[in-house]
Subunit: 361 residues, 2 copies
């Protein structure tokens, strides 16, 4: 098999190698059935087990109890920017937001189609270099919910923890779910595209408190309705069966690593390797995020010029460090170092940063 | 690797073994990149190539030209039962239907949410044993579109060809797309969940004529809008990247077999093996479909009792012939024999049918 390169892509992103090796086997035949995971009926006993196992693994990793529904849906997080207000907002109710960059802006635009919006805080004035802390935004007790993005992939910022603003919390955790200890239980709904920390693209994990779900609209097309998906146990129609298997295996892999507390320690150490290089570079590398809001998932920084940034990304790629160019809307360099990025990958990148500065600084 | 069993599941369904073997390799590293197909950025050069290749393969297999958009979307065909009327219907316009079973019934229910519905024909009186022929239904020139299902997976019926009813044709081809020569060019929109003939679950292929697309609503949430998906070239957000690769490889495999004309001949021969056993059984096996509407994809039949049917499916499974129980809503036996089912699988099933009748008849 080909040697693997370090993949710093922001998503789809690096997967744990044990998961890839298991999926390779299961594509051909799973559990000795002589039929591949992608070929089994979604109503058959083999997939019953796969689905139950994935739900079990999500509950184990998250610590969420039976007060929560665990749903495996499709469409990417972007679809759910529309479905959440469609399900929970009405013309006379308000969704509150903290606007911390590209993904919250998209979610705000969608919510405006289905109800009222109140943007309590915006990072625009400081070019999205930080997220709000408790006390930075007014309470919004009357809002239907407060939507925020726990980690901003493009800008490289991350909340230290959930804020208490009075309204039910809705968290877009696409880029940091199950990467650290985080009290999901304080929320009403948590959703995450699976292609960063928990699998491949084409699945969205939606965790929703039953009590909150019971307040959703009942008159939507079933495929647009969280109630309908929950009532059907994520099998309203044929789900992305292979994707659900990959999600379950990624959660099992997290458990094998010692759970989110152990993963958090590893992720913290990986991020510190890179932030250390930025902080020690005397301004050669300039972090995009304010130090109080730095992401442990996406380390973003600038060099003196765009041409130097391009040279950095290209030379890194020649050194088997792939996917380091920043998002096309934001520029700069971005190292995405999700759960499955090995410590050795961050060591190699830190070493490359030192060498690049030595030759170009 | 495990020996493979014959898988007669209705979908997700058997995949071509060369496609599975290639996907196994590409999960670990695709095109020598050292990064797996599911880990590459959907905006990177590798996936640019994968997407373009899948589009090329679909155009080659379908014969559709640049007047058509080729879209890779999500949600299953069921999602598109809602999206089609949402995009093309209004309160004062009508969608016409031929009701040939479970899937058209679901599509009709969705269309009623978004506009008027005119059911021109229903198979209910003959327990869904046939589909209409040209002349069986009135013209519907004033309708916004006429929606039909070219192959009815559950009931085992299939149209001989598209009907001319005056209105633009919308075809749910989920269970027979690219299985035979069929003039897709006569349609306005063709859609198909990919998990039967063209890949794994979690992708939907939507083929839409640009002229028809230009008549769609413009005020929908982007994720619900075919216009928005087309404008973004199926990358409005992160698509199901591995699923698109699988779809492209399945289409390439069809081309390798000689294209749809060659596949059609193989599928016809496979189906005849099974219908021959039914017709020669002297009533031991009773075909569900009227002989004029028999499906080449899903061969459905009954035995004298439900207990005998259960014995048939269970004994077949012990003989490595899997997934033969009929749909839970319809009962009986169903052999789904899509493109990737080998001729040997149908021979083995025909032989089993003879043996089962010999011992139980």
């Amino acid at each position: 098999m080909d040697p693997r390169r370090f993949n710093f892509s922001s998503g789809p992103a690096v997967l744990p190698e044990p998961v890839l090796l298991q999926l390779r086997e299961e594509l051909w035949s799973i559990d000795g059935t002589g039929i591949g995971i992608a070929e089994h009926s979604h109503r058959g006993p083999l997939f019953d087990h796969v689905l139950a196992d994935a739900q079990w693994a999500v509950r184990e990793v998250s610590g969420l109890d039976d007060e929560w529904e665990v749903l495996f849906l499709q469409g990417g997080a972007t679809m759910h920017f529309a479905l959440i207000p469609m399900n929970f907002l009405g013309e006379r109710t308000t969704a509150a937001f903290a606007d911390t960059g590209t993904w919250t802006a998209k979610a705000i635009a969608e919510a405006k189609r289905y109800g009222k919006v109140d943007v309590l805080w915006s990072g625009k004035d400081t070019h999205w270099d930080r997220v709000p802390k408790q006390g930075d935004l007014p309470r919004c007790d009357g809002a239907r919910y407060f939507h925020y993005c726990s980690n901003n992939t493009i800008e490289g910022t991350q909340y230290a923890g959930p804020l208490d603003v009075g309204a039910p919390l809705v968290c877009d955790a696409s880029s940091d779910i199950f990467s650290r200890r985080y009290d999901l239980g304080l929320h009403a709904l948590v959703f995450a595209g699976s292609q960063k920390n928990i699998g491949m693209s084409g699945n969205v994990l939606v965790l929703v408190r039953r009590e909150f779900l019971a307040t959703a609209r009942e008159d939507l097309s079933p495929m647009l309705s969280y109630r309908a998906h929950a009532a059907a146990g994520s099998r309203l129609n044929t789900p992305n069966t292979l994707g659900i298997r990959a999600l379950g295996l990624c959660c099992r892999w997290i458990l094998d690593q010692g759970g989110v507390a152990a993963i958090e320690a590893r992720n913290e150490a990986k991020a510190q390797l890179l932030y250390h290089e930025i902080d020690m570079s005397g301004g050669f590398y300039r972090g995009c995020a304010h130090t109080t809001s730095r992401s442990r998932m996406n380390v973003t920084f600038r060099l003196a010029s765009e041409s130097l940034e391009q040279a950095f990304a290209a030379e890194a790629a020649r050194n088997d460090l792939d996917g380091l160019a920043g998002h096309r809307s934001f520029g700069g360099i971005r190292a995405s170092i999700y759960n499955a990025m090995p410590h050795a990958g961050c060591e190699a990148l830190a070493s490359f940063m030192r060498e690049f500065m030595r030759t170009r600084g």
